[in-house]
Symmetry: C2
Subunit: 568 residues, 2 copies
């Protein structure tokens, strides 16, 4: 039984030196855990290249992990992205965070570059480095078969070994630190995998307070149509979004040339549930269980994945899309960047791509092989720039955009631009307001009030990623309940305002770190297409281009609210 | 300027020793060249394993090569098949045979196993072995880019390196020693590639006689609807057959469960010509130019390939089929065995396979990776046997059947069974009689007269493969004209009967060699399905199962004509 503050593990792969120290209490107070820990620790080395020995790769759990707080089975991975060059964190599910906390550690900070490929083994207060020649060249399920028998593990596949710039890290078979290429950072360090096993328990300051917070959250969750409703996340997973986005004519189609794909119903949540007779699975300690597995063990893809291997590439064949997702899981590859890079290639080459050719090219990318596979392994922006068409990379700060066309949700447009890790839907997720109407509905075709919504949501999500909790709970519960939970765990007083203050601190630090790497407000922008070309309209819904001036005004307003100099 | 009889090159990769000797005149008289040479030379070592150092791999040109005889740009590759265990020869086009002859060599016999991966370099009377570390792991187009700048080359891709049992050898980018896994023999020897360059010219005994034979053949070719007609080979390539076979309800569909695929028109010769705006290309010295290339350099697949990646796997997406063909060319893989192994897997697993999953599995096979890719890399018969269902491997002697359902052509049924290299359409090609009505039409649903037709066609094709000429010419010309050509080249008297005698000698030797490896008449059989299940019938055409007794009677008749003991 340990308190909620554990130890930090520091591993230098160049020297083989392993150190442990108590997690500083100020770090907990100022940065909570998870993403907050990561950005605080990386700060003094952020200008190093992603593949330099000094660059840290950090795996950090939050204070709620391994407690009875709902959706507390998550953690964060943090480093500098090989794709965007920004500071980068990914929130990951599975069991890794829980095992890490139970082993006595809040975080693992890895620096250095090993001479040979190694496995880091963490077991109840102990850690050691082993050479792992037998794991090299293996894809993620084969690594899992070797080291995943107990506890939890994180591994890269071949894409990470080859430093594909959007290689992911795969946890426990199908939880991914998906975006931004943190798998390539792991690959650059010649760290093939980490296994972790812990048997300890976490004592909390006020168990009754935690139980009461937990019950409040559970009650809200159970009452939420978005989560447990007939068409909700628990029933269909994130693919529940396919129909919602389709109906609103905002599904990125053929590299964002259109916003409507007539075959989308073939890969809707309902279609996949019917075809694969899915069952639920999910992270340690989660009541929602949003992940879906088919009767023959097929891993059912997420919304972003079906939409981008589907509409974005003009592919209507569900089973080929499921195959593409499997390949990304096996090789360790971000599905969004992979599918987007292929769609960008198709537009530049003036080709339509067949399901077969899509899979073939995807494998070339994952292996960083052949001319075109090699170029696309650097991401769509580097590829499109080399081809003389940077404007056809549908990315922000080099991170490929997910499956919400910004012409159909102006809050999302602003959030893509201001996101400090590039074109990401999860920094603010205004879709919640604009499409799901949570907590209140807003007009999706207007920038009115969006700057403030985005600012607050960005801070909120920085808190969520540091606690470390799941964003899906916030369709139902709010920071109010989580403030009670964290207060009960730590015995220190947190409220919504103090938590948002921490979120803002994390956000501003991330922004400052990006500035140190040369980013400025000119990088807070969207691809030209969205300001010039219409989306696909229907009788009821017109999808015009976004007015550039309205966008710039909203962005300046956002800077003003943030207290940044605007300068535009 | 050399005579038509050149030298033999003997290379031992274990010792690095290279020898040359004059091609014995008796060998020429008794076995002509090409396939005949190969089977004569391999005879004393045929019981060795394919990967033993003693097993020869032979590349042999025929006496017409590099002369002005039409379609004389071919050659043969001979060894023992890793897939079937039989003696095995492949007839190949391109420029390799021509360059070899012009370099002064009739054949190259390679034995031994190199310690490191090597390239064999043949240049005008000289040959040397070079280490080739930079070529290892490369696929065939990348090897071509390195060594294919002048002359000709033969190489294996990754599939050959990994000894996939149906790995092919790729010549000059897209001419294949496709079937039977001779690429794996090359891989077992660690011979990555051969490059050959020759500048000599071949003197012929009677140039005027050769010109006259050539003109006769050309006149017949030009008059042939099958070759130069509106729907012929020159216009559409072998894919011209798609519509013919489709209309007759004899296209193997879903692992031969059905014989009609409603989407076949999507990959007909006409469809591919329209989609890819193809142009003609072909072997050195060929007037037909049956190969087709798309405007963006796409290699257009052959009939067997489109039909098997199409109907046999239930795939109607042309562009995925073209992709599958490209992968087979790149990795060096027999398209017929690859597509059939995947179809066999689908039936055993009770799955329908998507285009994407088909491509993904194909790449796993080519790389001999992951559980299922590894099993299928041993061919459908070993896989199906391991799964307890040998009857679902649609093969004869372990060689997967091509794209003519034997229930729709009984001559083909008999020819599949008696073929001494396993389930092959090219040993006798009775399709010529049964479908193309050349030289005369026969009833495709009867065994009447087929035993004799097959016997003669087998002998004839042994001659054609030894000359070395192209089987397509024989839709128009006959052995009569070729007897004149070979007489003119050699100055020795050949006529149809003496040539057929040589063909029979080659055939009987091959059969004897198979007997030495344990084959007997029980191996001259077809998968049970063809005797038990109906094909797909239409209003006009019924495709019943073949009557086993009629088949056995025809087979005994064949043995009788051949002068073999029947014993059934």
């Amino acid at each position: 039984m340990f308190g909620y503050v554990g130890k930090c593990l520091k591993v230098n792969l160049s020297t083989g030196k392993i150190q442990m120290y108590n997690t500083p209490e100020e770090l907990c107070d100022e940065y909570l855990g998870g993403r907050g820990f990561g950005v605080a620790i990386i700060a003094d080395r952020i200008t190093r290249e992603y593949d330099s020995p000094e660059m840290p790769l950090i795996f950090a759990a939050g204070p709620l992990v391994a407690t009875s707080a709902p959706t507390s089975g998550r953690m964060s991975v943090i480093s500098r992205s090989p794709l965007t060059g920004t500071t980068f964190d990914c929130s990951v599910g599975g069991r890794f965070g829980t095992e890490l906390k139970k082993a006595g550690f809040d975080l693992v900070e890895i620096t250095g570059i090993s001479e040979k490929w190694v496995l880091l083994n963490i077991n109840n207060h102990h850690a050691f480095i082993e050479e792992a020649p037998a794991l090299v060249g293996k894809n993620t399920s084969d690594v899992g078969a070797e080291i995943g028998k107990e506890g939890s593990y994180a591994t890269i596949g071949l894409a990470g070994e080859k430093q594909v710039r959007f290689a992911s890290i795969v946890f426990d078979g199908h939880y991914l630190a998906g975006r931004g290429g943190l798998g390539a950072v792991m690959g650059a360090k010649r760290l093939k995998a980490i296994s972790v096993k812990g048997n300890g328990n976490i004592s909390v300051a006020d168990p009754e307070g935690l139980t009461s917070a937990r019950e409040e959250i559970m009650r809200l969750l159970r009452a939420s149509p978005a989560v447990f409703g007939e068409f909700g996340l628990s029933e269909f997973g994130t693919a529940a979004l396919v129909d919602l986005i389709h109906a609103r004519r905002m599904e990125p189609t053929e590299n964002f040339r259109n916003t409507f794909f007539s075959h989308a119903s073939r890969y809707s949540g309902y279609a996949m549930k019917t075809c694969y007779k899915t069952k639920r699975t999910g992270c340690a300690g989660c009541p929602i269980l949003c992940k879906k597995i088919g009767t023959h063990g097929e891993i059912i893809p997420e919304f972003e994945t079906v939409s981008h291997f589907g509409a974005l590439n003009g592919c209507s064949d569900l089973s080929s899309i499921v195959e593409a997702n499997k390949i990304c899981n096996e090789y360790g590859l971000d599905t969004i960047s992979a599918a987007s890079s292929i769609a960008c290639f198709s537009e530049i080459e003036g080709k339509t791509i067949s399901p077969g050719a899509m899979i073939s090219l995807l494998i070339d990318i994952a292996r960083r092989e052949k001319g075109i596979g090699k170029s696309l392994a650097d991401g769509s922006l580097r590829y499109a720039t080399a081809m003389g068409h940077p404007e056809l990379s549908m990315s922000v700060k080099g991170l490929e955009l997910p499956a919400y066309d910004p012409r159909g949700a102006y809050g999302m447009a602003l959030a893509y631009a201001t996101s400090n890790r590039g074109g990401c839907h999860l920094r603010a997720y205004p879709i919640s307001h604009e499409i799901l109407r949570k907590p209140v509905a807003t007009n999706r075709f207007s920038f009115e009030g969006k700057a403030r919504i985005i600012k607050i949501a960005e801070d909120l999500n920085a808190v969520v990623d540091s606690l470390t909790a799941c964003k899906f709970v916030f369709f139902a519960a709010s920071l109010e309940e989580y403030a009670k939970a964290i207060t009960a765990v730590t015995g220190k007083n947190f409220d919504v305002q103090s938590l948002l203050k921490i979120g803002e601190r994390i956000w501003n630090l991330e922004r400052r770190l990006n500035e140190l790497n040369g980013f400025d407000i000119s990088d807070d922008d969207l691809p030209e297409r969205f300001f010039k070309e219409e989306g696909t309209s229907s009788a009821n819904i017109r999808i015009p281009p976004i007015e550039r001036n309205a966008f710039l005004k909203a962005k300046n307003n956002y800077y003003h609210i943030r207290g940044y100099e605007s300068g535009e």
